[in-house]
């Protein structure tokens, strides 16, 4: 006897499956395909094989070659500058907040979390006021005569500060929840052995929150590779394109005014995607192995 086909799962899983196919699967496949084409976004893409990739990698006279490697270098710069701080500072906050004798925890946690709710464009407007030579804090309080957005290393400092201000809250909450889940009996027996706070941190806290650490490290890094809003709003990619990140070039090539070079932009996007995937996998592998 053949069992009657059950329609119910189709109803429950089907709608999202369609959304997934239309808005994630097909665009991803098409994005990879488009990277092998010459495409102006309007007409049909014209297959050119590996031409885009060859240009990006080997044609040092081409602007695409220059833009890709400059964009990648600046993106990596952002990742290297922000990711360690986005792990370490939230961890320090979480440990401080978990201190038994500290009061007003939820008020302080809220203050530190709040900037994460402020959109990058509003946050950037506020911070560019602070970094304004005439009007802001850097000029008036610290007497800095420099226009920060157009001088290095100040342009990077602005971007890093804005990123930290908005970014530490999310990781802090994950760490805090994880640390509060660590068994109190572990700390109590450490107290009996006379272990100090630093010793307890490295011997108990850190090993116990191993998974949250891996998770936030991988996610924060992958997120940092997609950086776009901070340099666009604060420095417009300057000075001398030293903060122009890859996402800015990809957007300009695909959607900017003038000629759209969507095939080339797709190739750069695929390469950025591959870099993110490799680094995420590597992080996951290395951290998992170390802790095992």
């Amino acid at each position: 006897m053949k069992k009657k086909f059950n329609l119910a799962p189709v109803f429950f899983v089907g709608p999202h499956l369609i959304l997934f196919i239309v808005f994630i699967l097909l665009p991803t496949i098409y994005g990879i395909y488009a990277s092998f084409t010459k495409w102006n976004l309007l007409g049909a893409p014209e297959w050119v094989g590996l031409d885009n990739y060859k240009t990006i990698f080997f044609d040092s006279t081409s602007t695409f070659h220059t833009q890709f490697f400059r964009g990648l270098r600046n993106t990596l710069m952002f990742v290297v500058l922000t990711v360690p701080l986005l792990i370490i500072i939230p961890l320090m906050i979480a440990v401080a907040l978990e201190h038994k004798k500290v009061k007003a925890k939820s008020l302080m946690q809220s203050i530190l979390y709040l900037p994460g709710l402020i959109s990058i464009s509003a946050a950037a407007l506020i911070w560019s006021l602070i970094f304004n030579k005439q009007l802001g804090i850097t000029g008036n309080v610290f007497g800095s005569e420099t226009v920060w957005a157009s001088h290095q290393p100040y342009a990077w400092i602005m971007i890093v500060v804005l990123t930290l201000w908005g970014g530490v809250g999310g990781n802090m909450i994950i760490y805090r929840a994880s640390i509060s889940g660590v068994g109190q009996d572990l700390y109590e027996s450490a107290d009996l052995d006379g272990a100090g706070p630093i010793r307890k941190f490295f011997s108990i806290t850190l090993p116990s929150i191993n998974f949250p650490l891996i998770y936030t490290f991988v996610m924060t890094t992958a997120g940092a590779f997609n950086v776009f809003g901070q340099p666009l709003m604060l420095t417009k990619g300057g000075p001398q394109e030293s903060t122009s990140v890859l996402m800015m070039y990809i957007r300009k090539l695909a959607f900017g005014s003038g000629e759209s070079i969507a095939g080339m932009a797709s190739a750069m996007a695929v390469l950025l995607g591959v870099v993110i995937l490799i680094i995420s996998a590597l992080q996951y592998y290395l951290m998992n192995r170390k802790s095992a």
């Binding site: 799962p9 709608p15 929840a177 006379g194 995937l277």
Partner: protein, 299 residues
């Protein structure tokens, strides 16, 4: 703080057994660190707010002050009157409409889909789920340009649909809901099934009330995520009237003449953060609720 306390700390960190050493300098270190950070975190917002109540002459001439000499409302009046180049109320309305519709749909989609992948039995269920999850790890930057083409083909450029619908396809929230539902005892719905309840009935009357906490958390993050999205609206919207406020603010730097109207610029930024701040005040305990990844893994 006495020197004695410093000595105590040194002893403590050196693992010298000093049972019940009561004076804990670590408390003061923690306080100092937290208070400095909190000040650094809150001053920019205060400075932005007070500057929005300053006249341009005061901003330029008076040097740094945290509070204005004269509180003025003119900046806000000017912002609200400028409905042609910077229609901020319209942008705020767009953002609220987009974020609310997106959030409501997210809750519907993730609860239904989570039920499907967690509580129902069908062939290849887990294979399908983990395949989708695996694909979704592929960085979104690759599908950015084709996604725009799809939105364009659907006629959704410069409409709210472009912001509301594509984000529903994500897997992150569904993963969380599925994990949460897996923790609910199977006997609950199995006995209901024996009594002849349909899947829809079980979903609606039994599972949905039980997963409310995780749905609230997902809803809040979806709302703020949608509200603060920047790259996608900057790509999808060219029509000033239709765009959400995040994209609108990008235009302001030019509209307000590169800081020649700093009060208006700050006022606009402040208006743009009010809705998420209000949401946070009302739903604070859910925002900062424990997201304990350790428990998620072991449990």
């Amino acid at each position: 703080m006495s020197n004695q306390a410093v000595v105590d700390l040194k002893k403590n960190t050196n693992v010298t057994p000093k049972k019940g050493g009561k004076i804990s300098i670590s408390k003061y270190v923690a306080y100092l660190f937290l208070i400095i950070l909190c000040l650094l975190w809150v001053i920019p917002v205060i400075f932005g707010i007070t500057t929005s109540f300053r006249s341009q002459t005061e901003v330029v001439s008076s040097g740094f002050r945290l509070l204005p000499e004269n509180w003025i409302m003119e900046n806000y009046v000017a912002i609200l009157e400028n409905t042609s180049t910077a229609p901020i109320l319209r942008w705020l309305y767009n953002s609220v409409f987009i974020a609310v519709s997106h959030t409501l749909l997210v809750v519907v989609v993730i609860s239904i889909t989570g039920y499907g992948y967690s509580r129902m039995k069908f062939k290849g269920r887990d294979t399908l789920f983990f395949t989708l999850l695996g694909i979704s790890f592929f960085p979104g930057v690759v599908n950015l340009i084709p996604s725009y083409k799809i939105i364009d083909a659907l006629g959704w450029v410069n409409t709210a649909w472009a912001m509301v619908i594509p984000g529903l396809a994500g897997m992150g929230n569904i993963f969380l809901v599925r994990q949460f539902m897996n923790g609910i005892p199977k006997e609950l719905d199995e006995s209901a099934k024996v009594d002849g309840a349909s899947d829809f009935r079980i979903y609606f009357s039994i599972i949905l009330p039980l997963v409310k906490p995780i749905l609230i958390v997902c809803a809040l993050f979806s709302f703020t995520g949608s509200w603060n999205d920047f790259l996608w609206p900057v790509i999808v919207y060219t029509d000033v009237v239709k765009m959400p406020v995040t994209a609108g603010l990008l235009l302001l730097q030019d509209i307000y003449g590169n800081y020649r109207m700093i009060g208006q610029l700050m006022g606009s930024a402040i208006l743009a953060i009010i809705p998420t701040l209000l949401l946070f005040l009302f739903a604070q305990k859910y925002f900062v609720q424990s997201i304990n990844l350790n428990a998620g893994i072991k449990g």
